[in-house]
């Protein structure tokens, strides 16, 4: 591998370069124009725009970059990764708009430079995760993401719950990634490679000590499960989500989860695949029974998320559990072990990004005004925020998965893939979970509209910008709920992972 190759391969990492440049730019601007912190978000948005253009350019280009062996390199560029990059970018846009309006972020005015820098650190980490094909690159990018987010979670240093969240996050994250690294080291020891494609080639047709393989696989799973907050690796999620500033919570729940899913899917598929038949079903090497593991995890995750959410009084915490539940649903798509399932996950992510960000945005606007995230404090607010109320209703209904919303389409695609794979019991479990989820989502709406309160509730105004943002999030939910061809086409075009 010589320098020319490296330079020519830079084309493949154009988006990542753009992010890095923006990151540096933010640092510079922050240092040079100390008094003009207001420009930082706009620079970020500009950077993201460029990145978006590059990502879109990358669609339909696929290939390995920074090759370490004949067939594979450190970085893989394919539509699958690009799709999740788009999700990450979308979430980033939204969250930066969030941050502009967040009163929590406003508290740390003097550290805005830091804030946006770290945000871009996260983005870079997630981009690298999306395209990494090497366990070490993967590990490093995860760490980049984690380290940035540890700080962001604890951004508001003065509040206890903020600091506590970041401490828990860092300890939990550190141990998880440590275990993962240990797993990687074992894989390296067995196969002599850290490249996923190479590992796959090596383990095909050979007999490996399966117990060690299982152990290392599970160790890696701990790290990835931590990222996507799948049970039983989810414990940090509610605490950290509750403690973190709302924009960061929203961001973690969408972007970081998306990146986690990319890595998990890539790891499982590329490393252990034996072949894909014409129906898009994967034949995995019979080393680790990934399907059973994922099924077990997904059932556990969604059940736990939904049932624990029933008890929550804090809306943010409730949404945290709800994101766990949704991770469980999405794991179902992986459990199918087919292209169809992957497509279902991607469709789900589109819907999930819209509705989850929307819900958090509403929570933030309300919290800005009334200073509380308690569900009981939402009683009777339906009248004082007609617009927000309707939008929150749309987001929550979509989270339940009732038509005509994108959330419904996402669930349908998921169930279609499940039934196609004859995993009907699993589909029924998931559906029953949906019913359970009704309780806690509807409770918010109940407090908003059904409960009549004596006291006067303050009007909660929505700024024009926020209004636009909310509509941008809500309208597609309804539109895709009725006309979902575009999202399915998009997901379908992106579902193929390089190599198979």
């Amino acid at each position: 591998m010589n320098l020319e190759h490296i330079i020519s391969d830079l084309v493949f990492v154009k988006p990542e370069l753009a992010i890095s440049v923006t990151l540096v730019l933010i640092v510079l601007v922050d240092l040079i124009f100390k008094e003009h912190k207001k420009v930082l978000p706009y620079i970020s948005i500009l950077g993201l725009l460029f990145t978006t253009i590059f990502v879109i350019e990358q669609f339909d280009i696929s290939g390995h970059a920074f090759k370490t062996s004949a067939g594979a390199g450190l970085v893989t560029v394919d539509n699958f990764g690009s799709f999740f990059k788009i999700i990450v970018l979308f979430a980033s846009f939204v969250v930066i708009f969030f941050s502009i309006n967040s009163s929590e972020i406003e508290l740390v005015k003097d550290r805005h430079g830091e804030y946006y820098t770290l945000l871009f650190g996260m983005i870079l980490g997630m981009f690298m995760m999306s395209s990494s094909a090497d366990l070490i690159v993967l590990y490093l990018s995860i760490e980049l993401l984690s380290l940035s987010s540890y700080i962001l979670v604890g951004m508001l240093k003065d509040t206890i719950r903020n600091s506590e969240a970041s401490l828990k996050y860092v300890i939990y994250g550190g141990v998880s990634s440590g275990i993962m690294l240990f797993g990687i080291s074992l894989i390296y020891g067995i196969t002599g490679s850290t490249n996923l494609y190479d590992i796959n080639t090596i383990i095909q047709g050979q007999n490996f000590p399966f117990l060690i393989f299982l152990l290392s696989g599970l160790f890696v799973l701990v790290g990835l499960g931590f990222k996507i907050s799948a049970a039983p690796f989810h414990f940090w999620t509610p605490d950290v989500y509750e403690g973190a500033p709302i924009p960061i919570t929203a961001y973690l729940s969408v972007a970081s989860k998306a990146a986690g899913f990319v890595v998990l899917i890539r790891f499982v598929k590329i490393t252990f695949i034996d072949g894909v038949d014409e129906h898009g079903n994967w034949q995995l090497l019979s080393i680790i029974d990934w399907q059973s593991i994922i099924i077990l995890l997904s059932i556990l995750t969604m059940t736990l998320g939904n049932f624990a959410a029933l008890w929550q009084d804090n809306l943010k915490r409730m949404l945290a559990y709800s994101t766990i539940a949704h991770a469980g649903y999405m794991l179902l798509g992986l459990a199918v072990m087919s292209e169809e399932g992957i497509m279902a996950i991607m469709v789900y992510f589109i819907a999930y990004a819209l509705m989850n960000l929307g819900a958090f945005l509403v929570v933030m606007i309300v919290a800005n005004k009334i200073g509380s995230e308690e569900i009981d404090d939402y009683k009777g607010l339906g009248k004082s925020m007609p617009f927000l109320g309707i939008l929150l209703a749309i987001f929550l209904v979509s989270l339940i998965g009732v038509p005509p919303t994108a959330g419904f389409i996402a669930k349908v695609m998921l169930f279609i893939s499940l039934v196609d794979a004859n995993l009907i019991t699993l589909a029924i479990i998931a559906l029953l979970n949906t019913v359970v989820s009704l309780y806690y989502y509807i409770r918010v709406l109940k407090n908003l509209y059904l409960i009549k309160v004596e006291e006067e509730k303050p009007d909660i105004p929505v700024s024009f910008a926020n209004g636009i943002l909310l509509v941008i999030l809500a309208a597609p939910i309804l539109i895709f709920g009725i006309y979902f061809t575009p999202i399915i086409n998009f997901a379908k075009e992106s579902a193929t992972i390089l190599g198979f």
């Binding site: 014409e278 129906h279 898009g280 079903n281 087919s338 292209e339 169809e340 009248k383 209703a393 209904v397 009732v402 038509p403 005509p404 419904f408 349908v412 169930f415 279609i416 039934v419 196609d420 004859n422 009907i424 589909a427 029924i428 559906l431 029953l432 949906t434 019913v435 009704l438 309780y439 509807i442 109940k446 509209y449 059904l450 409960i451 009725i482 006309y483 979902f484 061809t485 399915i488 086409n489 379908k492």
Partner: protein
Amino acid sequence: MDFPILTFLTFLPILGMVIIMAMRKEQVTAIKSLTLVITGIQVLLAIILLANYDSSLGGVYEQASFQFVEKFRWIDIDNFSWIGKIKVDYFLGVDGISVPLVLLTTIVTFVAAISSWTISSSIKGYFSLFLLLDTGMMGVFVSLDFFLFFIFWELMLLPMYFLIGIWGGPRREYAAIKFFLYTLLGSIFLLIVMIGLYFSTQETIDGTKTFTFNLLAMMNADNFTSDGILSPLNPNNLRMIAYIALFAGFAIKIPMFPFHTWLPDAHVEAPTPISVILAGILLKMGTYAILRISFPVFPEITKQLVWYIALFGMVNIIYGAFCAMAQRDFKKLIAYSSVSHMGYVLLGMAALNTMGISGAIFQMFNHGIITSALFIIVGVIYDRTHTRMLDDFGGLGVKMPVYTGFVTVAFFAAIGLPGLNGFISEAFVFLGAFGVSLIRLITVISTLGILLGAGYMLWTLQRVYLGKLNEKWADLKDLDLREYAMFVPLSIIMIFFGVYPAPMLNLMNSSVNTMVQFLDEVRVFYTSLGSF
């Protein structure tokens, strides 16, 4: 006809909803009038539809004999390397089974819109949701694509939840969530069976076999794949289980014993117009869907389970009647009477012959009309007295003679008195069901419902309207013009179809015959596939 009348019927309320959302909160009368106008136009459209409807065409399973068909590709995704294509059609059409219910929906909604005039809080929200609900209901009755059907089916849930939950009585939250939960539970069964059927049916579109949600394609035995889990060609198919799940999903809406407990609560708490819609239209969706989907898609299972369906019909009839008798709350009593009356529909359907099914459909229509009147009746006194306890009343007949007159008509229609519409449908149900030796005994026991119905209805009539006037109500006023506007059309319909039921029966006749024949023939074919 080129005019897309069904689309208009279905989506006109949405248009109204959008306009109302754009209006100011203070324009109360304008909002109410707009709703009334929209629902009125719907009635007109339904009448135009009836006028242009050719009742000689069968429908049921072949597209060619459906009428006012609108079909175009809604979702069109090609080039899946792994599962082929996803094609979903926007597919509307009516036949003799749905036309009566379309008519019913427009009438009842119109009456409910009049009845909504008394709503006083959050007018804008109420009427927006009301119209949204309207669209959902209409959509269910005209869609012929399972996916579309399901969307409309679910579309009603939320408006209903809010309409009960915000404008309802004291325990409205409980009732609303109960309604929502039950029906959502029902629809998850629906969803899973829908997907199962999707993978078992392949329609030929543009020359290639494609999985489809098209209900009519699902009824065609040629379209079944060899390995779909719900395909009769697949020896390990799960059709029986799927049928039961689907049936349970629909049964919750009917509501069939023992899934009925949401109904009394929902009714008691809902405001009058919503009770009217709930009992008048929503309940019919369950039985309609069974006829539209369960029966023709699973003819052989239907035949196997017919005895159980009839049995549940019987239990509904008798159990509902007994429960009604025990009630002290007027509205709850009416609610249980609905349980009882929907039992006749089940019984009639179970007969699987012309009279039984005609009777069942006619009973759906009639019960829709009658029970709407009954709920309005309760609403009228509740508006005046703010109580619904039967024992609080007595002798209202003296003070409100005209009202009592309408009450008598509606009550006797509910009892199934000849000359009013309830009779002929019940008679058809019994005639049809008795003709089937398998369920003959059940039919005979079910006739007890006629007696019990008379028992609780007349007892109610006596407790509320007859006897000595309770002095508390000495200055009650008789009906006003608005209330006349609700009772008169309903009473006219009751009397008209009681005296001359032929138009309604002829309207549905060829479809019912087609259905009966289809079920009979296809069942034999399916059974011959050897998996039974």
